[in-house]
Subunit: 542 residues, 2 copies
């Protein structure tokens, strides 16, 4: 009989009570993989929460360098073990081993951890603000408990609960993390957690700063979120699961950050469609095919003017998609879910252009295109915005240019929106008008570009209005901004000097930390800051 | 027959459909005031929402100087009409005309608007971030619709839906505001709205940028919040009403910012209690008496060591409170509600020390103190954290020092928490320990100070964990930070230059706007920024 894998509880790989067990599968073969993992029960979740809450008290008083040290060591450890981690991730997810897993996603994961380490050392993310005359000092601080991070199926490394962007941001803000692995890749999560634990021990983080479990019953997950020891949640995954978690978190006023479904609309204007429709079709095909369309930024809605140019565009796109063999998806369930979604969009009235069927018995699905006239789309826009997670898109053909505007007005919140236009000529004015409308529906507005490929840089916004995310003011990618999600704003009003976090003391802790003193951003110590000509104070006298 | 007052809809004082009408009362006399105000029905609320959504499209493209001009003109207008406004506010609320209304609160209101104007012109609040090599540019932007602001009863000016901090922040972020007046002071709200409208016309803001209605059925308010035209909500008031609004906003993923109840615990350590207990009692009495305790930062829970020093403290505090005549409260309902709250805390087991009764037939209530042993408090801490909105506090007497810690662990989120301690000696170590525990339960941690008196300065945090507010990462006071509540984070990925908001273009729009270019905060134009020795980039190469 197979033994059940332990979970990471209080810095120890522990055999814990489980209500059930599960196995991962190799999606390429459909075979169950060897290891058996626990579906942790409520008593186990309570132990994790308790340990995280205890760790929080210690962690918030540790120097930033220690947390940065953990992040760097962890990044190095992953780098050292990249082959083994990529190998199991490939087995569990069928994503390409090379270059996707072993290079692209691995590099991104390592880089995110290092950027977070830089931000922790840099300290500017705390946005320290000091009014010396009132002795009033404020900054962003850890939330004061454990942060639960739940990663998605489709990025086993860069969004993994124990290694991805939410993990890096929550730890960078000084919070212990309880990571929930995704059931599709528990082995990958285990290898990462082993490296996280090793790094935590090397850095000397408090016991329980990084913990991991694999799975729990949905209702137990909701109860965990409602526990007072859990003070923040990060979730990337399906809209249905995300909204259920959001409801639980909202009841207890626990900040929750969601990254849910997105169909990433692309508007192609007449000039662009006519002058380079086929080239655009090629780019979009490549974007749709990346990771078999199993990306949150995959193009799922293409809006263009009906006519000969559209026919050429569709022709090129169809050919590019049908000429490429469908790859194995993350799971047979995923292929099944895509099948349902495509059927729903067809049932709503969309016409099937190519694909539309599962490739049995595999976890594969034919590359799929559907189309609909703008007039019909506008009759029931909600039905046609059903996410089809995979290489599948709905083409909307517009007879009139005002239909572009109308479609934007019906769009739900999305992570991205693209406009393809010719810089001059007939496209110029409508492109600007559409861009202004579209930007309110998305977190990232692109021009003449496909939405896949999220640069992990400070200016990135991987966010957007509900229901793409739970709050339009945040981003899941882009350090340091992403760190603010897991922080509380607190102030110290004439507090004893010994109570102050180092960043709020008179002396600049690094000599380089940017702080707002008397309304002026400066790297000076308190008492030495003087207004500079190039920075205007926003504090009026009172 | 009295006519019903019009509401401010689309820049016009309009007679609209109403499901009912109401009158304000002079709390000092109990007499209904002359004017009759509409309880707006759903069709009216829909018109307001529609107008706000239309205004949003215009407003987001207006230059910051125009919005700043509105805020300044409005501040000037209020200043010009301060006597008339303070007079009616006094009649409607019974708050002291002088100095409270005509000076303190009026000055604060005017100052908040001017600080918001400074921040709009300064532009740094948008936190512009640019990666020149990727042509990736992001900033905070208006939410893209109307913001609903609902002010409380207790600050008819500084938190008024049409003039207070939430209004200033929402407008500064470039959003149109629909203000809901409070039913206790509609006449004050009307005078302010008249000045807001005049300023909007002077500044040339789009029609519908500032709108105001007085009242609606609670269920209609929830429906308004769920409308897609409403993209943000600010609410200051009771926990019950706030949580009901939060539920509606959470369902549609609409950002909502709440400022609800707070009992503002004060911990007095043995050394402080013994050496200056009576002096501290005097300060707390003054703080409790301010505005008859009808302030969100009024002290409601006092924790100190049992013993002779505590007896002296209680004696002094009791004397100070009983020697002061109770003033008329904001409404008879408020006095009634305080009566209920005091009764609930007594029923839970607290001992009445002074006061505890309504002064009939007035809208007054005796200044009230209750006490409880720490052991009993800890048996049902929730019951003893019932807010008593008025001059009333519960004293908790600790037999053992560890009870201080235990009490903190049971505290709900609060706006403030105070620790009184002697800097050296027996208090020093426990004070630091308690301060570290307490800071996670509050937005503002004070030392040897009462919590009333919120400085309107950049470093202020008027916020805290749920249920004091809805999210611990924000503050309702403190510009520019408070503005972020009503903003979306958006990015432009290789966008046409003509689509960019001015703050994201290559040229620094003011020459002084602080932007993060390539990870470095600078006032340079894009292309001219170069890393400085004193600022470390947080962007790693990729």
């Amino acid at each position: 009989m197979m033994t059940t894998q332990p979970i990471l509880l209080r810095d120890t790989w522990t055999d814990t009570a489980a209500s059930d067990t599960f196995q991962a599968h190799n999606p390429a073969t459909g075979q169950a993989l060897n290891d058996r993992y626990p579906v942790s029960d409520m008593s186990t979740l309570r132990q994790l929460a308790q340990a995280a809450a205890e760790a929080a008290r210690e962690l918030e008083n540790r120097p930033p360098e220690q947390i940065a040290g953990f992040l760097r060591t962890y990044a190095d450890n992953i780098d050292t073990h990249r082959e083994a981690i990529a190998q199991i991730a490939h087995t569990e997810t069928a994503l390409d081993h090379h270059p996707r897993l072993v290079n692209t996603e691995m590099d991104r994961t390592i880089d995110q951890l290092r950027q977070a380490a830089d931000a922790v050392e840099n300290r500017s993310w705390v946005c320290a603000s000091i009014e010396p005359d009132l002795d009033l000092r404020s900054q962003y601080e850890p939330l004061g408990g454990g942060v639960l991070v739940m990663g998605p199926s489709n990025f086993p490394l860069a969004y993994n609960g124990i290694a991805g962007g939410d993990f890096a941001a929550a730890i960078a803000a000084g919070n212990p993390v309880i990571a929930k692995g995704h059931t599709l890749h528990p082995g990958t999560t285990r290898l990462l957690a082993e490296q996280a634990l090793a790094a935590s021990k090397t850095a000397g983080l408090p016991e329980g700063s990084v913990q991991m479990f694999y799975h729990c019953k949905p209702e137990d997950g909701l109860e965990l979120i409602r526990m007072p020891e859990i003070v923040g949640v990060g979730f990337t995954g399906s809209r249905k699961a995300g909204l259920s978690l959001k409801k639980a978190a909202d009841e207890t006023g626990t900040p929750i950050y969601l990254e849910l479904s997105s169909i990433n609309p692309i508007f192609i204007l007449p000039g662009a469609c006519e002058s380079r429709g086929e080239k655009i079709a090629g780019s979009i095909a490549e974007s749709m095919l990346a990771a078999s369309g199993q990306q949150c930024t995959s193009p799922g809605l293409l809006i263009l003017p009906a006519g000969a140019a559209a026919d050429g565009f569709i022709n090129t796109l169809s050919t590019a998609l049908t000429e490429t063999e469908p790859k194995v998806m993350l799971s047979a369930d995923g292929a099944e879910h895509l099948d349902e979604s495509v059927r729903t969009v067809r049932d709503a009235g969309a016409k099937l252009l190519i694909g539309g069927k599962r490739v049995h018995p595999d976890a594969r699905f034919e590359h799929t295109l559907l189309s609909i006239d703008a007039g019909d789309f506008l009759k029931k826009p909600e039905a046609f915005q059903r996410e089809m997670f995979g290489t599948a898109a709905l083409i909307v053909l517009c007879e009139r240019s005002d239909q572009f505007d109308s479609i934007i007005e019906t769009l739900e919140g999305n992570l991205t929106g693209s406009v393809y236009s010719q810089p001059e000529g007939e496209d110029a004015e409508p492109a600007q008008r559409l861009a202004r409308l579209l930007r309110r529906r998305v977190g990232r507005l692109l021009h003449n570009e496909v939405p896949t490929g999220v640069s992990v840089r400070p200016s990135m916004v991987h966010g957007g209005p509900f229901p793409a995310t739970g709050h339009p003011g945040f981003t899941a990618v882009g350090i340091p901004t992403a760190i603010h999600r897991f922080a509380a704003r607190r102030c110290y009003d004439r507090a004893d000097r010994r109570w102050l976090p180092e960043g709020l003391r008179d002396a600049n802790p690094t000599g380089r930390m940017l702080r707002r003193i008397g309304g002026i951003w400066t790297t000076d110590d308190v008492g030495k800051a003087s207004p500079k000509a190039d920075q205007r104070s926003v504090s009026s006298s009172r």
